[in-house]
């Protein structure tokens, strides 16, 4: 797997052409192998931006380029061989096994009659199942797994695509603390370029090389977390009083939040 460089130029999107924009002109460049966290309050446009990155929405203006190639000049299959996404969708009613879900990741690589899984496909599926500790679960039905296990299966499926860019939508949602840490640790160690949306700013600061702060569909800053997530910027974006404090034994920076209008409203 070669990690890819992601270049976003003047990207914007609205549900109807000429309608109200959910994402205003956004530009950034993410170097190969870096982890980008997309943060912002609800409705800031995080999901919209991700959908533009994994070629689900077509941009109204601007481009998304992988290693310099516009993803809308490539076929959907060609993009699927370079960009994989782990979303909040899970199969449940259709009795697919873990191995079968992971095998879906090979879909964009297949040629000819569907389902001809060559030796290489099998080897890759075998390898990612091992990498994510899913070998023992390979023949379990996906509907019988816990939330954390299902999340790992979906990551394994994405890795089976052998992408250069991995996109994750709120990967820690609905996971308990241990599974959150495991997921973040995994993200940190994958040798890929990664874009992930995250709710928790402190988690984002911990694992991201860069963060993009969005508010009302407008980018408020892009760069290393320490720079972008300043007290002032976070306070403005989330309409709270944010304070950067220092945790006592570890000395790590930690954001705390307080309602700025507390006491003023009944």
């Amino acid at each position: 797997m070669n990690s890819a460089r992601l270049t976003v130029t003047d990207l914007s999107w609205s549900p109807r052409r000429g309608g109200e924009r959910l994402l205003h002109a956004t530009s950034f460049t993410l170097a190969a192998g870096r982890v980008l966290g997309i943060v912002g309050p609800n409705g800031a446009g995080k999901t919209t931006l991700l959908r533009l990155l994994y070629r689900f929405h077509r941009p109204e203006t601007g481009t998304v380029a992988i290693d310099g190639e516009d993803i809308w000049r490539l076929s959907a299959r060609a993009v699927a061989r370079r960009v994989a996404a782990v979303l909040q969708e899970h199969p449940s009613d259709f009795s697919l096994t873990v191995a079968e879900v992971v095998a879906l990741g090979r879909t964009p690589h297949r040629r000819g009659f569907a389902g001809t899984d060559g030796a290489r496909d099998r080897q890759i599926i075998h390898q990612v199942l091992g990498q994510l500790g899913l070998k023992g679960l390979a023949h379990r039905h996906i509907g019988t797994l816990s939330g954390g296990e299902r999340q790992r299966v979906m990551v394994a499926r994405a890795l089976a695509q052998e992408p250069g860019l991995l996109i994750l939508d709120e990967p820690t949602n609905h996971l308990d603390i241990r599974h959150q840490l495991e997921t973040l640790n995994l993200i940190r160690t994958l040798p890929l370029t990664i874009v992930t949306s995250l709710h928790d700013l402190n988690l984002a600061s911990g694992i991201c090389d860069d963060v993009l702060l969005l508010q009302g569909g407008k980018p408020q800053g892009f760069g290393p977390p320490g720079q972008v997530l300043s007290e002032a910027a976070v306070s403005r974006a989330f309409r709270v009083d944010a304070r950067r404090e220092t945790l006592a034994p570890s000395g790590a920076a930690h954001l705390t939040y307080h309602l700025s209008d507390a006491g003023q409203n009944p």
């Binding site: 959908r51 994994y54 070629r55 689900f56 076929s75 959907a76 299959r77 060609a78 993009v79 699927a80 061989r81 960009v83 994989a84 996404a85 979303l87 969708e89 899970h90 199969p91 009613d93 259709f94 009795s95 697919l96 096994t97 191995a99 079968e100 879900v101 879906l104 990741g105 879909t107 964009p108 297949r110 009659f113 569907a114 389902g115 030796a119 099998r122 080897q123 599926i125 075998h126 199942l129 070998k135 390979a138 023949h139 039905h141 979906m154 695509q161």
Partner: protein
């Protein structure tokens, strides 16, 4: 690493699947034989096989049976059994495919109004337009009716923003009611002498099966079945979710529309030859998933096999329950399917 790693249990699974497949074909062969043997006139199984083998290789078996028996077996019951198998296989594959692309385990050509649309087109041809392009008129108008109903259901679902599983079924049921009442108006306005036949056919009747007509459903079934099989991995991806399927390189909206059109094609042609036979598409894929798992590379052929067997037995029941009268097979599948539906609702109760 030079050796290709095997997933745990792969050979064991392959062996079991082969056994399931062979077992399925054995059950199918037995079911066909019984379906041809029973009826108003009982024909011994030996005669059924004797006639069949003599037709394959003339003179292979000494004909110990009368001409009349041979006519019953070969001209009436064989085409009927073959039509039952094709209808069962076709409707079950349509049900399985629609369930994947709508991500809705309750999807079924009957519940989604596609069968009603097919019936509307067929009634229009039988009672009003006349057979203006010969024998093809009924299947063609049935297909167009089924396609129209499909597009209306998809349109209503979009209009009502009914993207969730249960609401799509409601949209289908609503459209189905409207089209059925329009079809009933056509019957009401039609020639009263012809209406009896049409009503009987609409309730599901395989009794009109003739060798000369079997080619149409066969060609459609083989072509559409092969296309669906070639899209098995896309169907698998669709069960995960639209956006995930799209990140796997599938043009989701176009693929879903294509599957609906192919479903309308199969359903329309089957309805044209056998009337409305409901719930086969709903029931069979669930049973098959319990037997062989959820991979569409196995669900589709499994559904075809189990659907064929189910419809043979439904037809056997339809011909024996009130013998010597045939009751319409749609009554039998409706009864079994309705009970199954209730069971399914209970099983899907939110935990």
């Amino acid at each position: 690493m030079t050796e290709t790693p095997r997933l745990p249990g792969r050979t064991r699974h392959a062996g079991r699947r082969l056994a399931a497949l062979l077992g399925g074909f054995a059950v199918l062969a037995v079911s066909v034989s019984i379906a041809i043997s029973v009826g108003a006139v009982q024909v011994p199984l030996a005669t059924v096989w004797g006639v069949f083998l003599n037709k394959l290789v003339p003179g292979l078996v000494d004909a110990t049976w009368s001409q009349g028996r041979e006519a019953i077996v070969w001209d009436i019951r064989f085409p009927r059994a073959l039509l039952a198998m094709m209808v069962g296989a076709g409707l079950a594959m349509v049900g399985a495919s629609l369930q994947a692309v709508t991500r809705n385990p309750l999807a079924d050509p009957h519940l989604l109004g596609i069968s009603s649309g097919g019936a509307f087109g067929a009634i229009l041809a039988l009672l009003h337009t006349g057979l203006f392009i010969g024998l093809l008129t009924v299947p063609l108008l049935a297909f167009l009716g089924a396609l129209m109903a499909t597009l209306v259901v998809l349109g209503v679902a979009r209009f009502a923003e009914a993207s969730s599983a249960d609401r799509l079924v409601l949209a289908g049921v609503a459209v189905s009611f409207i089209i059925m009442s329009a079809a009933n108006v056509l019957i009401f306005l039609g020639d009263p002498r012809a209406t009896h036949t049409v009503v009987f056919w609409m309730l599901g009747g395989l009794g009109l099966a003739q060798w000369s007509q079997l080619a149409y459903p066969l060609v459609i079934l083989v072509l559409c079945g092969a296309w669906l099989m070639s899209r098995a991995s896309s169907l698998n991806a669709m069960t995960v979710g639209d956006e995930t399927a799209s990140t796997l390189g599938i043009a989701v909206a176009r693929f879903r529309l294509l599957v609906f059109v192919v479903g309308a094609l199969i359903t329309g042609v089957m309805v044209a030859f056998s009337g409305i036979i409901g719930f086969v598409g709903l029931m069979v894929p669930h049973v098959v998933r319990m037997l062989v798992g959820g991979d569409y590379l196995r669900v589709l052929p499994g559904s075809a096999l189990v659907g064929a067997i189910l419809l043979l037995w439904a037809d056997i029941a339809a011909r024996t329950v009130m013998a010597p009268e045939d009751i319409p097979i749609g009554i039998v599948t409706g009864l079994i399917g309705g009970v199954f539906f209730v069971w399914l609702l209970g099983r899907r109760r939110p935990q």
